[in-house]
Symmetry: C2
Subunit: 669 residues, 2 copies
Amino acid sequence: VAERALTFSPAVAVPGDAAVPVAPSRGRLRPLGIGEVRLAPGFWHERQERNAEATIGHCRTWEDRVGWTGNFRAAVEGRLPGDRQGRNFADSDVYKLLEAMCWEFGRAGDGDLNAEAARLAAEIAAVQEPDGYLNTNFGRAGQAGRYSDLEWGHELYCYGHLIQAGVAALRGGAAGQLFEVARRAADHVCAEFGPGGRDGVCGHAEIEMALVELYRATGEARYLEQASLFVERRGHHVLDDIELGRDYFQDDLPIRQAGAFRGHAVRALYLACGAVDVAVETGDGDLLAAIVRQWERTVAARTYLTGGMGARHTGESFGEDYELPPDRAYAETCAGIASVMLSWRLLLATGEPRFADLAERTMYNLVATSPALDGRAFFYTNTLYQRRPGTVPSRDEASPRAHASLRAPWFNVSCCPTNVARTMASLAGYVATVDDGGVQLHQLTACTLTPALPDGRTLGLRVETGYPWKGTVTVRVEAASGGQPARIALRVPAWAGAGAVLHGPEGSAPVGPGYAVVERAWRAGDELRLELPVAPRWTRPDPRIDAVRGCVAVERGPIVYCAEIPGDDQGHLDGLAVDTSTPPVEATGAASTEAGGAIHLTVKASPLSEPGTGPSAGLPYGERPAGGERAAHQAATEPLPLIPYHRWGNRGPATMRVWLPEAVDTATS
Amino acid sequence: VAERALTFSPAVAVPGDAAVPVAPSRGRLRPLGIGEVRLAPGFWHERQERNAEATIGHCRTWEDRVGWTGNFRAAVEGRLPGDRQGRNFADSDVYKLLEAMCWEFGRAGDGDLNAEAARLAAEIAAVQEPDGYLNTNFGRAGQAGRYSDLEWGHELYCYGHLIQAGVAALRGGAAGQLFEVARRAADHVCAEFGPGGRDGVCGHAEIEMALVELYRATGEARYLEQASLFVERRGHHVLDDIELGRDYFQDDLPIRQAGAFRGHAVRALYLACGAVDVAVETGDGDLLAAIVRQWERTVAARTYLTGGMGARHTGESFGEDYELPPDRAYAETCAGIASVMLSWRLLLATGEPRFADLAERTMYNLVATSPALDGRAFFYTNTLYQRRPGTVPSRDEASPRAHASLRAPWFNVSCCPTNVARTMASLAGYVATVDDGGVQLHQLTACTLTPALPDGRTLGLRVETGYPWKGTVTVRVEAASGGQPARIALRVPAWAGAGAVLHGPEGSAPVGPGYAVVERAWRAGDELRLELPVAPRWTRPDPRIDAVRGCVAVERGPIVYCAEIPGDDQGHLDGLAVDTSTPPVEATGAASTEAGGAIHLTVKASPLSEPGTGPSAGLPYGERPAGGERAAHQAATEPLPLIPYHRWGNRGPATMRVWLPEAVDTATS
């Protein structure tokens, strides 16, 4: 990995004005910005529209309602700390909302939205102190002192989101003073925490990647140096030990020595993003290789089928290897988003399709799961097994807790909704790249692409597909300048195995997972058609994952399925086993014609055998013979409907389950 | 249950001066006090001696060192709140220590210990305010006001432990002013929280059972009435909603409506104890039946093989039914102790052996697990699967966290060590009972019994046994007065199945689980001998417990076994499957001759098959065929040593596992 990663390719440097969330100056691939990729109607376009129409405004309304935007006015009016609302990090959610507004303006050009963002930016600017310090929660009379609580204060974390918003404002071309506010804050951080300054890091990584992006946007080396300092400083016990342990904020081990992501999942993944950014900009192959190694182990042993990361509610953290309980999956929405951010950075740096594969899995099965169909309520945690319908959050109150059986409109800790908003608004920035030889389509979604190739040629491409529901992806060349050959690469997802076929101008051929590449002097009207085998399939876990031993899941294309039983009753999902002797079938009739073309499935299920009545005085343990449950499907089976996991919880209280115990016919084994 | 429970038997009322932790005035059985049961050398005697010699002094030393005893002196000297040490509830641990000292004095009569306890009691008495209020954390200038934070303040919880210590002082006949201090505090509580007073309950149940015991000790009905009021008041949302949810402190549902124990395990179980006490004293069969119903469901679906309760680290709480992950078992030591306290109360009320069975399981596999072999370090949580050796707590510092891979000498929240101390000191009070017809031996441990039967007769019995390692329990009559027949009942544990035989003066007969009863006009020299089948056995879980599906555990007699691999390396316990085609065998040689006669076992294990390399881009999921791991033991097997679970963690860092994946030979199924 180190060797390949060091093969940087300066020729594909991102133009300074490209509207991209991540703009590495080197790497294997250059991202296409949200101006070069336009989503067309389909799975992600629908969600991006809903984000624009509902989610961004919803977040603004709630941030006003709970007083987090008001904190800035209260600061100017001298009403702090008395009138301050929200937790330490409330400022950051205002910044994440601003980032979403900037990307959305960059994408759709809504002047009213830009004006609103600029007004909000002005209110924030008014709070910034002469030395650049900016936080509504620290430093005033009656408040704790600046940087007096690096473990939990989140001041640098808040700057990180401010700086990301500022970069979005710069690249989206809008939002008034926001970029300058962010830059002054970054200058303050460099002065305060630079060499010879405070020897600290933030309890929540985030500023690292923000500073690198600011470096990329401005060319000012001190931002990169400060980011590098933060990345390397952490892990040497610079923060206090806490009840959750120092691994909670990755201060247990220097980043190059760790073997896997650990501790608080969002913190760990944001830190990894920053480390990749530093590694790429400084040409540090060792650091990049360390993160790739940690990613590999994390994916191999600490990642849910949905791409979700974080197995523990306690500390919102990664657990040990193979500790992946479906019922207690934390799998925070923000961790899924952070994982996509990391996958994207690793893809750009290395060009390896495995990173795009994980991003796809995580996008469809975690990021898409969080928002409700109306875009106005969100899952914070993303369980894979809802045993009981549980409590339903009010649509009129902020939820006091992260975990709920249905989506909540807002949370006391409400990082997820604004993270969804900024991700959906910038989604087109995660679809395609170019390199010296051509263009790569990583996410198979309907869109138009107008990449400026590094050598100055332009291509106009239209991608048509009903993916993920349908397996056909057509790429049509609508415009091509120059007559030199260029490559078009389509990602063939890992899940397709050996079943994909590419039809091109020069014939058809089976294509394996990775990239199907056609090099050609393209002419308008040329077409590539990728056919992917989207039949439903059974998926089984590594036997070391205790929590789902003996279970199967169902996937179809990139989509993970689940059984959902709506209703207040507990349902009976904990007493079923599925018959895997025949494949899942696609549902027909009403159930198969849901909006958006989502395909539903049906499997056959039967009751789990009753446990034996061993001599255990009422306990669920006994001298029951082995394999008791395995004869289960000899009993009558009944059809069990499955829906895409990302659609669950939209029909009121329900029980839900991704992994289903497998009935094995003892007579046939 | 209700009907049987209402068959109270006033004839067996406990004498007012009996040294028992629980002294119901009615019920099926009367407990024998620590003066009537003397443990003889063996499993529990060894632990009681260690408690007396090491643990009690260890707790005193640490409470001085961390300043919790010093809080009382600081209060008298006007140095609060500045000098206060510890969490809100630090006072309670001083009271639990005092309770342990009182029982220990009652048991062994050590005058120095009593004098020390009396001095400590005097320091506490000096802090009590004229109206009976007593707490080092509230009510002074600079402190929060009295009862200003019922959710988290723990004031009533602290009184609960003070009152239990006071009752122990009264019944143990010692510790100076302690009883009077407790009584004044109880009077204050009745005045403050009685009818027309504050309409609140404590965020942590505990005072309920303490007030009932004070009623039993004094005959003052107002204490019982106050306890009843607290029990019934909870569950009506009298406390604030909190992030963990109102079920955390059982304020979600009135106690009669709940279906199972839920929320914080210790809180739930302490509350249930208080409810049983109230039900028994008020003759409320409905309330008793509600608790029995909740106990049944909790045992059937929310209890670990070790008897441990509390499946979640978050909120130290019960999870949903069948949510019993071994790796993340919280199974707090205090919850195990609380479960034994509850089982004992239900046994006394109903006479049903299932409660004694659960107490036995919990005593041997949870309560005995907490203290280290030297009695100076403790498990707070009791996992069933230690995946990695993890961090080792310092023996010189209080642990900042509950969860650790080895026992810690003390904790920032240190409820468990003093709970162990008071339980071990009063252990003899949980062994045997009498009723109108005779004596019942519930725990099969070496001891002498001198029960005063209700009709005035006396019996002198000696129990000799190497239980739990050996299956022979001999009861010898050493003295018998009067010539009337009396019954001697020996509990035959549920685990014995149909394999037990009782040999008595009139012959031998197989005896099933429950009580083997012999009625006879006993004469000195008569002997009963119970033979229990202590061969190792495989135990399998209910198939609804996802986390251990396809696994087996090994038990022998009442003892749960585990595999432990000492050393800093991760070991390879996560990659093994066991061959269950032959039974576990008892180890011979050095491994079988450990102190205390503990028996070690050996099973055959082989590597889990490698997971298939499905097309999942590095994830641990794929289209692997079913049953891949089931062919595992066709590979070479190797012996895997097992030790009693309660002995694990005494050999330095280690991995450990109770539930082991089962290799199934596909050729034979």
